[in-house]
């Protein structure tokens, strides 16, 4: 007994064990949890602005639905993160514009037409085979346009014009909440 007491005393003096106070950590986690619950999104898809892109502010409260995303940044035009056409000084470079029609963006049209055909073929296949998945938004001609707020309507119109020519007349403009 005397031996055991001696060992205990030595340990206690060295102060090698201690009880961790986790109260403050729990407080911090509670605050973090409330913040994350507030920003929790139940939207079908997550749309996020691209690097250096500033989307316009709007009071619109509609969640985006699953469809094709076209992004217009100061440097290039992208479809689902793939660069399709380039921009210089907020205008499309000459080689990307149809020489006979100044509003027609050739690479965008080709890409959109290709995607539309692929999805339509998938939709037809899905009629007989339900396991085949297709993008309903693309088949319905819907498109989400994420465009930098600094652009003029003239540049934006070229994208809208080409998209509608490629079979995407239903345009949804991506905006950030705020007024």
């Amino acid at each position: 007994m005397a031996r055991r007491r001696k060992r205990y005393d030595v340990g206690h003096r060295g102060n090698t064990t201690f009880g961790l106070n986790i109260t403050s950590m729990t407080d911090m986690f509670t605050i973090l949890l409330v913040f994350l619950l507030q920003t929790y999104s139940t939207a079908e898809i997550q749309v996020s602005p691209d690097e250096g892109q500033s989307l316009p502010l709007s009071g619109a409260q509609t969640n985006p639905t699953l469809t094709l995303q076209v992004s217009l940044t100061k440097k290039d035009l992208k479809i689902e993160q793939r660069s399709i056409a380039s921009l210089e000084n907020q205008n499309f470079v000459k080689q990307d514009i149809d020489p006979n029609d100044s509003n027609f963006i050739l690479p965008l049209f080709k890409e959109l037409e290709k995607i539309a055909k692929e999805e339509e073929a998938k939709a037809k296949a899905a009629e007989t085979d339900p396991t085949v998945k297709f993008n309903k938004g693309v088949v319905e001609g819907k498109i989400i346009l994420k465009a930098d707020s600094s652009f003029d309507y003239g540049t934006l119109r070229k994208v809208m014009y080409t998209a509608s020519m490629a079979g995407f007349p239903k345009l949804k403009l991506a905006t950030v909440i705020g007024e």
Partner: protein, 177 residues
């Protein structure tokens, strides 16, 4: 002395470890599904009666409302009813868009044509995109909650009030050269 002893027995330390472990698991899950920049789309999600009224208007249009936007002269709201055409002008105010004036003008037009929900935007090429989005916000819904517009719900055969003005926006000059 006896009182003191009784109370000393009631002190205990709350074990927060299980609560903390639950939180540690919850935080990564919420972090993954959080949207720090909430991106929305400008689209119309409308009550059934409003949707029906829009559909009816598309089939049998009674009036055509157009908004011409020019960075030098401001707004022109053009209302075409059969052969009659009226124009409401909202000029620039101190060199900037008069969005309040536009909202009031559109409220006036809407109160005269409550059955029309479509507006045709025709901005000039140099109008900034961020301003077009603001104009769409002004046209979509009445900001004054007291001002509502009557429409007839044909299914229930009664009048319904809505604060939607022109949620159906069409860019008419997209196809222009």
């Amino acid at each position: 002395m006896a009182y003191k002893k009784k109370h000393a027995n009631h002190e205990f330390e709350l074990d927060l470890a299980p609560l903390l472990s639950v939180m540690v698991k919850l935080v990564p899950v919420l972090l993954l599904s959080s949207a720090f920049v909430q991106v929305m789309v400008i689209e119309t999600d409308l009550p059934q009666a409003v949707k029906e009224a829009i559909q009816q208007q598309q089939e049998n249009p009674t009036a055509n409302i157009q908004l011409a936007i020019d960075s030098k002269s401001g707004f022109q709201v053009i209302i075409q009813k059969g052969q009659n055409q009226t124009v409401e002008k909202v000029p620039l105010k101190d060199g900037a868009w008069d969005l309040k004036g536009l909202h009031l003008a559109l409220q006036k037009v809407k109160s005269k044509n409550p059955e029309v929900f479509r507006i045709e935007f025709s901005p000039s090429a140099d109008v900034p995109y961020r301003d077009i989005v603001l104009m769409m916000d002004e046209a979509r819904q009445s900001k004054d909650k007291k001002i509502k517009f009557p429409i007839t719900d044909k299914k229930e055969n009664r009048q319904v009030l809505t604060d939607f003005m022109f949620p159906d926006v069409v860019f008419t000059n997209v196809m222009d050269g």
